[in-house]
């Protein structure tokens, strides 16, 4: 029985052989970077235009003993139209008769990551900046990784460390070390940085860091909620259909056709963020953050990241 780490390498090799562009991200990337210990699942960013090749790869591997199955949780068909708009597909993969179940999550356009910044190293690991952006969720457990990855970027001399460091003292040190050009560029992406020049009390800085985090968390909550709402509506319509059946057995291509067909017939929206409107989602997230922290609009605006950073 292979371990999750063996599967990771095997799957990466197969993707490479098939000419599929990928980056391994999230939990396993945090394991790789020495920050996380306890994940078995793997998250992969695959170029949306390569997803057809990935489905072909699955079909080929099934003839060699692999088994691939959609997991029956909230997620979209493994299709460019969906994953290109921020949906995720959740799969289980068995890489042979004695293989354990490998839970594999596929992103096409990962949240908070600009497509031009998706970079992987020679082994296929997403770079620390990409992983840190993805970890800005509404879950407490993810935020220490943002800080840890930021510190690693700083120790590597990368200006983008300024986007991620969350410890007040370390952030000040990184700011002092950075070149004027880096400070200017990074402050455009993270307005809180500009406050480092005027806010000298660390407690005041920690307050701003807390407001900034609340913005990211609550905007993410709205982003996730937009997908959740349309999925619920779709699933309710689908369940009412006479021929409803899910999950289905059999080769992955059959499962995929079944799910994609249902998504078309029962109207799973391809682009929930576009349909809801990014500005509206941002406003709702900001209102929630302001109420939770009792933060006035002026304070929110001091640290508010550009919308293209939060909802690209």
């Amino acid at each position: 029985m292979s371990s999750p780490l063996d599967f990771l390498r095997l799957f990466a090799d197969r993707l490479r052989e098939a000419g599929i562009r990928f980056a391994i991200t999230s939990g396993m990337a945090c394991v790789h970077y020495g920050l996380a210990q306890n994940t078995k699942d793997s998250d992969w960013i695959i170029r949306p235009e390569d997803l057809a090749k990935l489905r072909d790869l699955f079909a080929q591997r099934e003839t060699e003993g692999w088994r691939i199955s959609y997991r029956s949780i909230f997620g979209a068909p493994l299709d460019q139209a969906y994953l290109g708009h921020g949906w995720t597909s959740h799969l289980s993969v068995w890489s042979g008769g004695d293989s354990m179940e490998n839970k594999v999550d596929i992103f096409g356009q990962p949240p908070r990551v600009q497509a031009s910044e998706i970079v992987a190293d020679a082994e296929g690991w997403a770079d620390r900046h990409v992983v840190a952006q993805m970890k800005r969720t509404d879950r407490d457990k993810d935020w220490p990784f943002v800080d840890g990855l930021g510190l690693q970027l700083r120790l590597a001399g990368e200006a983008r460390s300024l986007l991620h460091i969350r410890d007040a003292r370390r952030l000040r040190e990184a700011w002092v070390e950075a070149s004027p050009e880096s400070r200017r560029n990074m402050a455009l992406r993270r307005p809180l940085l500009a406050m480092l020049e005027t806010v000298s009390d660390d407690l005041d800085l920690e307050r701003l860091l807390a407001v900034e985090r609340a913005i990211w968390e609550n905007v993410n909550r709205e982003r996730y909620g937009a997908h959740e709402r349309v999925w619920k509506e779709f699933y309710r319509r689908w369940r009412l259909a006479n021929d409803f059946i899910w999950p289905v057995e059999g080769p992955f291509c059959g499962q995929h056709d079944h799910l994609l067909g249902a998504a078309r017939i029962h109207r799973l929206a391809e682009d929930p963020l576009g349909d809801a409107g990014r500005e509206a989602l941002l406003r709702a997230g900001l209102q929630r953050a302001a109420r939770l922290l009792n933060a006035p609009e002026k304070e929110i605006n001091l640290v508010l990241p550009p919308i293209k950073e939060m909802l690209p």
Binding site: S3, L155, E158, W231
Partner: protein
């Protein structure tokens, strides 16, 4: 960027504050040693799926942890 760089002491002390003593001690190990430990964890413990069964109110799944 070097995937397994050596970090200064303050970095590990910071990790200890973020994640606790045990994780920081593990992070100090060389990559091969870290991987050996991870393999042991994977072989002996089942970690829960990071995602909920769906949809909670329709199929009785769990909420996102």
């Amino acid at each position: 960027m070097n995937p397994s760089p050596e970090y200064p002491e303050w970095y590990y002390e910071h990790l200890e504050r973020l994640f606790g003593e045990e994780r920081a001690a593990w992070a100090r190990l060389p990559r091969e040693e870290r991987e050996k430990e991870i393999r042991w964890y994977h072989a002996h413990f089942n970690t829960p799926d990071d995602l909920s069964e769906w949809p909670a109110e329709l199929d009785g799944g769990r909420d996102r942890p």
